[in-house]
Amino acid sequence: MSRSQTAQSPAPVTAPGRLAYVIDDDRDMRMSLRMLLQEDEIDARPFLSATDFLDALGELKPGPILLDVRMPVMDGIALLEALTERAIRWPVIMMTGHAEVPLAVKAMKLGAIDFLEKPFPHAELSSLMGRAFEILDEQAEEGGLADARERLDRLTPRERQILEAVAKGHSNKEIAQELDLSHRTVEMHRARMMRRLGARRLSDVIALVASAAR
């Protein structure tokens, strides 16, 4: 087999969107975690320190955090506290050589989902990452629900009436007759209702109503 063929072999494919943050001051640990996560088709974005992570936080999408306890300047517990203050509820998995009981319990009370003691079996990491992504999915669902309800609350009573009729599949003409309004007025309310809901298509409106009703 020639060299060029080897070079062309495709890089391991990771599922889109499965991204975890690794915060550890130990370079070898960051590397090995990256490789372990890759085997589970999870991309790892490494950070050398808790402060680096906090600096980048604004541009990050929600993801599981693998967090080393012992780090200079800002340790893992301090970062957990900082995340709690910022109301960030992304699943955090703590890592350390040996977790003293009070430290482990403190981290878990601060919301960490578990404590990995190095060296840990790959299966334990995989299982925890699976749980972390489940938690994120649940949070996204809750967030979508709250968001849908909040947007529906912005509608005027008239817009709500029109929304209900639209969701039932009634045409503008039918709605105008039902509510004893002119066709133009219905069109106007309907356009404003869509704008307030941030919906571009009828299917967006129906999805929104469905998710708020759950």
């Binding site: 009981v101 009070p102 482990a104 878990m108 578990d114 404590f115 990995l116 749980r131």
Partner: protein, 144 residues
Amino acid sequence: MGIRCLLYVSESCLSWPEDAAEVDRMVAVARHRNEQLSLTGALIYTRTHFAQVLEGDKAAIEEVMASIRADPRHRNLQVVADDPLEARYFPDWTMAYSGPSFYVDRQIRPLLNGATDPARSRRAAAGLLALMREFAAGGGGAPN
């Protein structure tokens, strides 16, 4: 008569996801009964194991242990500490932790596999007790 402290560990016979509701029922019954008998302590559940510490009169602990031993929701119950106690560590009886934590489970598991080395078992039991006290202190267990 002085009070005692008993710690046991056991394997859960419950399966996910029905276990959550079952454990809730168990806790409701235990809380009421333990209050009647002036028993304090804590229970933890890790989806695979239980651990419970009970503090109080010997007779009350024995009465509760008889029913706990007969409970089909767990098996392989092992008493890992049973000692006289000068003062209670737990102000009441609580569910200290319920969830899937590997870390918490690791504090229980070594105590179930036979007491090969008594000194080691005692250390493990002391560690588990410390964990339960820490969870029960200041505002109860973890959210999950």
